[in-house]
């Protein structure tokens, strides 16, 4: 029905005689043979092709942060499909049918299941999401398809935050959101070939104008606890997850984010004495270390000595059900942490558990006794048997080595055996953060390989090997995970403990003394413990170059970045319920709770809505200023007894004035003629001038 529709296609097949009109129809077929179509230049691309290429670029940019953790097949599929779709767009070729896509989707589902052993959960979900997204680009026909791509895109942006919420990721994702919105705007510009920049400007404008709403909602939207338990696989960032698998990590990815901040009311203890205790792992299946779920009967039997060390902790949300407290913080009143809103208890393995995962920032104070003893003092074979257990058939050479040592020192006490093993570690082992993987394909015999062959690793290698050797000699032993040390320099009085301070050490049970801490890592890399250096990898090339030129500059850059990052962490990432309540208190609420937040939010939003409605009302009654002026003029003329009609132009009014008043009305009529010139004449002005109205009023009053 529309004249804008393209002229109807010529009926019948294009003639073979090189008819110029028959050309466009068969060009795609000819080009379809080339693998890489001829690139016509960005400005000569048809509009559809340009939009598709832009959308593909945005999608690739959005998925890019996932490349590190997507399975290889998914990565290949993504790259392949995106490149192929780009080729189809440039060559203006037909999209594949529905059935091949469904086949690929099914294959991808099978592969996902094969890779992740499930279709649910975070990793499998993200893999599927990426597959759906890239396959959907092969189906971009109608506007509805485009919308599905946008919505999937926003989801993928969100999933990126599951892995990292750093400034860099945030900046990347901001670009993604902008790109997706731009593509959405483009999809709603049906006419012609609108420039990308214009669509981008509109998208930016929508986002920028929406920013105040975002800020209000972000600041005031009540932060509530998770509505249902999230699968734990999303959470294990460090060794505190309650299990440990030695040798599986080739290289430690250092996470410099803050685990908690600590302040001491009194002198700061030596940092080598600061062990922040997490889960103790006593059960070993040959590959993985697990917690002893219910340590039998016996209490912690904690016995403290000397002066307490009072301290205060601001714990970042770890999403783990535990508090990494300083060893040893007893459960007695006055020493135990004072917590609101979350229940915490001391396990018999001296670990502080909470009733639910810590999902908000917690701030509390407690007192620890660095000098302490715990565990049963006398032999209790029923309790201790668990801690000498080794699964048969694993690490036979290490067991043999331990047997040989035991035979060499038949009379040795447990302390002497510990000393013998520690001296072995001290001679000939190397501390490194990039040890490579250990063990065979299933992770077995990793300790054999570490202890007897390669002899390099970091804390988890040393502590696990140490515990296995001690158990092989019938000395009860277990691994303790947690944090060790603090940053050397405080920030505003608070010492940082970063996730890179995560550590694993060992405890052996000694008759008469109970559990005694042994840190084999300290034997090989004392600086790791004594100077409390957080695990720090080799610097990159750029950092080394800067350091070579100007060491101060690098330090300054790093400090500036840290400060900036710290602000980001403080104000964006760690903004939680307690900050919301602080804000309300500053605004004058006394003991606010979440209903106050909701009320304030509702009041602000409805104020905004009312303001909008008021503006709409005003706008509805707003008139063109010329019309308003004419109405006033007509009113004035009617006072003088001159009849007017709503359709009269100033010139017509002048004529009426002349007719009605004769020579007396000449001044008035001249003013009206002047108005006519101002409105319609050669020197017309955009808005009525006040000077004219004054002159007119003067003429009318005469």
């Amino acid at each position: 029905m529309s004249a804008d529709l393209a002229p109807p296609r010529r009926a019948g097949p294009p003639q073979a005689s090189g008819d110029p009109l028959g050309g466009p129809a068969d060009v795609p077929d000819r080009r379809g043979l080339d693998i890489i179509p001829r690139w016509p230049g960005w400005s000569h691309l048809p509009r559809d092709a340009r939009d598709v290429l832009f959308l593909l670029a945005v999608i690739a940019w959005t998925i890019a942060p996932h490349f590190a953790h997507l399975p290889a097949w998914c990565l290949g599929l993504t790259v392949g499909v995106v490149l192929w779709r780009a080729r189809l767009a440039v060559a203006n070729a037909a999209l594949p049918g529905r059935w091949p896509l469904i086949a690929v989707l099914l294959a991808a589902m099978v592969l996902t299941f094969w890779t992740h052993r499930t279709l649910l959960g975070k990793d499998a979900g993200i893999t599927m999401l990426v597959v759906l997204m890239v396959l959907k680009t092969l189906e971009l026909r109608a506007r509805r398809d485009a919308l599905v791509v946008f919505f999937l895109g926003f989801f993928i942006v969100l999933t990126n935050f599951l892995y990292a919420q750093t400034l860099a990721v945030a900046a990347m994702m901001l670009v993604s959101v902008w790109g997706l919105l731009t593509a959405l705007v483009l999809a709603h510009m049906p006419v012609g070939r609108p420039p990308l920049a214009r669509a981008g400007a509109v998208a930016a404008r929508a986002a920028a104008l929406g920013a105040p709403i975002m800020v209000v909602l972000f600041v005031l939207f009540p932060r509530i606890a998770p509505l249902w338990a999230v699968p734990q696989d999303t959470l294990a960032k460090t060794g505190l997850s309650g299990s440990l698998r030695m040798g599986g990590i080739a290289e430690v990815a250092l996470d410099e984010s803050v685990a908690f901040r600590v302040r001491f009311d009194g002198p700061k203890p030596d940092s080598q004495r600061l062990y922040w205790r997490g889960p103790a792992l006593g059960r070993f299946d040959g590959v993985e270390w697990q917690r002893v779920e219910s340590p039998t009967g016996r209490g912690a039997e904690l016995e403290v000595r000397g002066q307490p060390t009072p301290y205060e902790i601001t714990l970042e949300p770890s999403r783990l059900p535990l508090l990494p407290l300083l060893e040893a913080t007893p459960a007695t009143r006055g020493d135990a942490p004072t917590l609101a809103g979350i229940r915490a208890s001391l396990r018999s393995d001296l670990q502080w558990m909470t009733a639910r995962p810590v999902t908000e920032r917690l701030r509390f104070s407690a007192r620890a006794y660095l000098d302490h003893r715990h565990g049963p003092r006398r032999d209790d074979s029923f309790y201790l048997r668990e801690y000498t257990d080794l699964p048969p058939g694993y690490n036979p050479r290490t067991l043999e080595w331990a047997d040989a040592l035991r035979r060499r020192l038949p009379e040795a006490t447990s302390e002497q055996l510990v000393e013998a093993v520690m001296s072995t570690i001290r001679s000939g082992f190397t501390y490194t953060l990039t040890p490579g993987t250990y063990g065979d394909d299933e992770g077995r015999h990793a300790i054999d390989e570490f202890w007897l062959d390669r002899k390099q690793g970091f804390c988890e290698h040393f502590s696990t090997a140490f515990v296995v050797v001690m158990r092989a000699m019938d000395v009860p032993a277990r691994i303790v995970t947690g944090y060790q040390g603090i940053d050397n320099e405080p920030q505003d009085g608070w010492y940082l403990v970063r996730n890179s301070h995560a550590h694993a050490w060992a405890e052996v049970w000694i008759d008469g003394r109970g559990w005694v801490r042994v840190d084999p890592t300290a034997a090989v890399a004392p600086e790791r413990v004594i100077q409390s250096r957080a695990l720090r990898p080799q610097q990159g090339a750029v950092a080394s170059a800067i350091e070579a030129v100007n060491p101060r500059l690098l330090a300054q850059l790093r400090a500036g970045w840290e400060r900036f990052n710290n602000q980001w962490n403080q104000w964006v990432l760690n903004y939680s319920r307690s900050e919301q309540f602080d804000l309300l208190e500053r605004l004058g609420w006394r003991s606010p709770d979440w209903t106050d937040l909701a009320k304030l939010l509702v009041v602000l939003l409805s104020t905004g809505a009312l303001a909008g409605a008021a503006w709409a009302w005003w706008d509805r009654h707003r008139q063109d200023p010329w019309q308003r002026l004419l109405r006033r003029v007509r009113k004035q003329l009617e006072v003088l007894g001159i009849e007017t009609a709503p359709s009269d132009a100033p010139r017509a009014l002048a004529a009426r004035a002349r007719r009605a008043l004769g020579p007396n009305g000449e001044a008035l009529a001249q003013q009206l003629d002047a108005l006519d010139a101002l409105r319609y004449g050669r020197a017309a002005i955009a808005r009525p001038s006040r000077a004219w109205w004054r002159a007119f009023a003067a003429a009318a009053s005469r």
């Binding site: 004249a3 926003f154 969100l158 935050f161 006419v191 920013a211 709403i213 964006v572 939680s576």
Partner: protein, 317 residues
């Protein structure tokens, strides 16, 4: 339920004034979320749940950023239409069953407007809407095809101007009842019956030669009143003076197209035949008159005469 809805809609439309110039204000621009808008709200809800459950502050930021952008887009969608002025040019006449192109002028006082769709309110689907961009401070024209089903005067159907720009989450529209009417001429009979012979009484021998329509016998100097298509442009270009084709028929014959001679069954087929004859006579350059019961147009030729004849056929009752 449907009939109630239709009745409501009819009642709503009957309240609208009929006008050829329609200025869009807060009062006559309506807006609702589209299906995509509801989908977007659902996506935001799911994203909010994810942000809560994984305690992702950046998830909150993203969700609220999109919510803000979506809210702003509502105003942008509404603003696209508000302030625009629509004007319907007098629709041309055409034959029944054939499309006649209406020109709708859209004027935007301030901003450049994108993706404004113009279509009929009662169209079965919106895929025939014509989309235009309107330059700021300028105008653009949308051509809408109207197919009148039968001859006679037709009111221009209610129009709908709508937009989903910029994000497609909301749809703003206005309903406009133009005042203009379009005249549809009877559809000419196809294939056309041969023109009736001139009455015998007019009868010199030349008349018999002329039932064909385009053979010309020679050329002569241009005389005022000759139709443009009779001018021999090639000769004119060479010589400089206007030269016309000379039809013996056209000067010698005067043809009456009479209701009585259109032997077809029924009123409309007769009118169709007469319309076809008017066209044929006009194409042949034969002066023709029209006789209908109660209406008589004296013989003449040219565009104006043709138009008058067709108008008479269209409005005869």
């Amino acid at each position: 339920v449907i009939s109630l809805r239709q009745r409501l809609r009819a009642w709503f439309e009957s309240r609208l004034p009929r006008t050829d110039t329609w200025t869009l204000t807060q009062r006559n621009v309506y807006i609702v979320p589209t299906r995509a808008g509801f989908m977007f709200a659902l996506v935001l809800l799911v994203m909010l749940l994810a942000a809560i459950n994984y305690q992702l502050n950046l998830g909150y930021v993203l969700t609220f950023l999109l919510a803000g952008a979506g809210f702003v887009s509502m105003h942008m969608t509404h603003n696209t239409l508000r302030g625009m002025t629509l004007h319907l040019k007098p629709p041309p006449s055409g034959f029944a069953g054939e499309a006649l192109m209406m020109e709708i002028v859209l004027a935007s006082p301030k901003r450049l407007l994108h993706g404004v769709g113009v279509g009929f309110e009662h169209a079965a689907d919106r895929s025939h809407d014509v989309f235009v961009d309107v330059p700021g401070g300028g105008q653009s024209v949308a051509h809408l095809a109207l197919v009148p089903p039968h001859r006679g005067w037709h009111e221009v159907p209610t129009l709908r101007i709508e937009t989903r720009y910029p994000l497609g989450l909301f749809r703003a529209w206005t309903v406009w009842r133009p005042a203009s009417r379009a005249l549809a001429w009877p559809a000419p009979e196809r294939p056309a019956a041969p023109l009736p012979a001139a009455p015998a009484s007019a009868g010199d021998s030349a008349a018999t030669r002329a039932s064909d329509s385009g053979e010309f016998d020679g050329v002569r100097a241009y005389r005022r009143g000759d139709a443009l298509k009779r001018i021999v442009w090639k000769k004119t270009a060479k010589g400089g003076d206007l030269v016309s084709r000379d039809h013996t028929a056209s000067v010698q014959r005067e043809l009456w197209l009479d209701w009585q001679h259109a032997h077809a069954t029924g009123t409309e087929p007769r009118l169709s035949r007469l319309a076809a004859w008017v066209l044929a006579a006009d194409a042949a350059g034969i002066a023709h008159g029209l006789r209908l019961p109660g209406v008589e147009l004296s013989p003449g030729s040219g565009t104006a005469h043709r138009r008058a004849s067709l108008d008479a056929l269209a409005t005869w009752s």
